[in-house]
């Protein structure tokens, strides 16, 4: 699979606030933007991929909206990591020549749309989870708080170290004109902000925004004729060991240990080869756990690793260069934005936040409550 497919175009739509827009309209607008970026039209697309928390048979809905009659449709839903994971079936379908150009899209109006709490009540009724819900975990924050508390207990990780992660994300966001939260943020601000589920404060938690994104995937031989520099898929791995936090074997070790190892093996690369890192930071503890589990530092040493601005602009390791889910955009499922930012960095299109000479980018998706872990490694033509 290594190097056989590439991302030819990426697009965003409705990030931040998009009042008056439906989820499918935001997804379709992002799709149009990604197709324009790839120099293609909907007529060139014969594969459709989407995941939604709300729209029933979302693959049918997106194809219908865009007027596409796909030969390949895929809607695996494993939470926010889905849109990183979609690279796997999409690459397989392209490799098997089931289709020639696949559009992966996502849209959400969770910030300004109505009916969010009503949808939550319906989901609770349909999927009661009787071994967790009666204790009223305020999820997802409570599940991640339990992981953070355990990491702090076991390794001496501090709230200040977690706050470093939020501050680094904000500093990247300040370099990104498309980011939603760009006002200054200090470690003291994070520590003093409202507690949600101890030890996490509201500033340890991701944004709640609207927004959509899309990317277009084609075979490597095709992408050479298209206008933008392609981002090749060098490696990808997926793993999950639990759904509910109470079934997670060790709250300090995620399945990213496995997804990352497999992605690096396929790519023939290691953490030392990665120029820019995009991690699914729904909460500050995520960034810390994934840096450890993907091998950027040793288990238990993530707190020290992120200190002193190491993952902030100007630090040794650029992490979440768009500002992440903490400060750029987080409309319920963040996965597609990891891939989009990785591609923009590899193309040299990231403006003031551009990582110089970025050739290898890692995009790591998380779904559920530290449940689904999916790692993708993308590279420029020179890395093939």
């Amino acid at each position: 699979m290594r190097g056989s497919v590439a991302i030819a175009g990426v697009g965003l739509a409705g990030c931040g606030e998009a009042p008056g827009w439906t989820e499918m309209e935001i997804a379709a607008a992002a799709a149009k933007s990604a197709l324009d970026d790839a120099g293609l039209t909907a007529r060139d697309v014969d594969g459709i991929v989407i995941a939604s928390t709300n729209i029933f048979m979302s693959g049918l809905a997106l194809a219908e909206h865009l007027g596409i009659r796909p030969k390949f449709t895929e809607s695996t839903m494993v939470g926010g990591s889905s849109f990183v994971g979609h690279l796997i079936p999409a690459a397989l379908a392209l490799d098997a020549r089931l289709c020639d150009a696949i559009l992966v899209a996502y849209g959400s109006n969770q910030r300004t749309g109505t009916g969010r709490s009503e949808a939550g009540r319906h989901k609770m009724a349909l999927d009661p989870q009787p071994f967790e819900h009666p204790y009223k975990p305020f999820n997802p924050p409570t599940s991640y708080a339990l992981a953070a508390a355990r990491h702090m207990h076991q390794y001496g990780t501090t709230r200040t170290q977690l706050a470093e992660i939020a501050v680094a994300a904000r500093k990247w966001a300040q370099l990104n004109p498309e980011a939603f939260a760009r006002e200054p943020l200090t470690i003291e601000d994070v520590l003093a902000s409202r507690r949600v589920s101890d030890p996490l404060t509201v500033r340890d938690c991701c944004l709640v925004t609207d927004g959509g994104g899309a990317y277009v995937l084609t075979r490597a031989e095709r992408v050479q004729d298209l206008p933008k520099p392609p981002a090749y898929l060098l490696g990808v791995g997926a793993a999950h060991w639990h759904r509910q936090i109470s079934s997670m074997p060790d709250l300090t070790v995620t399945a990213a240990t496995e997804s990352g190892r497999r992605a690096f093996e396929m790519a023939g690369l290691g953490p030392q080869d990665v120029d820019v890192v995009e991690l699914y930071d729904a909460f500050t503890i995520n960034t810390l756990l994934f840096l450890e589990d993907l091998g950027f530092c040793r288990k238990g040493e993530g707190g020290g690793f992120v200190s002193g601005g190491r993952i902030a602009p100007g630090g040794a390791l650029p992490v979440n260069t768009n500002g992440g889910g903490l400060s750029c955009v987080h409309p319920g499922m963040y996965g597609i934005f990891l891939v989009i930012e990785a591609v923009r960095q590899l193309r040299g299109e990231a403006g003031a936040r551009q990582v110089r000479d970025a050739a290898v980018a890692l995009a790591h998706g998380n779904g559920g409550v530290l449940s689904s872990q999916i790692t993708a490694i993308l590279g420029t033509k020179d890395t093939l």
């Binding site: 009666p134 204790y135 009223k136 975990p137 339990l146 508390a149 589920s197 709250l251």
Partner: protein, 119 residues
């Protein structure tokens, strides 16, 4: 002949009747929680109901912050039971922020739920 209900209903019905029951696999001898049809350790469907000791240790804990008007802060935790399984629960009878990882706790049933107090 099929059992009268699935394992989830069996568990919840027992709790409602004041009994905390848990599955143990007759094939691999490991305890299983939450209740299932098939043992997640070995794949056997020979799961039998047993009474756990009720003794456990807090594996992790959080205080969920809630406005006083809505009932105030409360504890949510994960407890490792002596039988080698983990469950979500809450520690009551002490303030939520005083629940500590490593704390020995004892199960009781309240309002059809398993909750814990310091042992």
């Amino acid at each position: 002949m099929s059992p009268p209900s699935g394992p989830e209903k069996h568990y919840l019905d027992a709790l409602a009747a004041g009994r905390f029951e848990m599955q143990k696999c007759a094939a691999c001898a490991r305890h299983v929680f939450y209740p299932r049809v098939v043992c997640p350790h070995c794949g056997s469907d020979r799961l039998e109901w047993v009474a756990p000791s009720g003794r456990g240790t807090v594996y992790s804990t959080t205080v969920v912050r809630r406005k006083p008007a809505d009932g105030g802060d409360y504890n949510v935790c994960l407890v490792d039971l002596a039988e080698g399984v983990r469950m979500m629960s809450r520690v009551v009878s002490i303030p939520p922020q005083e629940v500590r990882i490593g704390m020995a706790v004892k199960a009781r049933i309240a309002e059809g739920l398993v909750e814990f107090t310091p042992a």
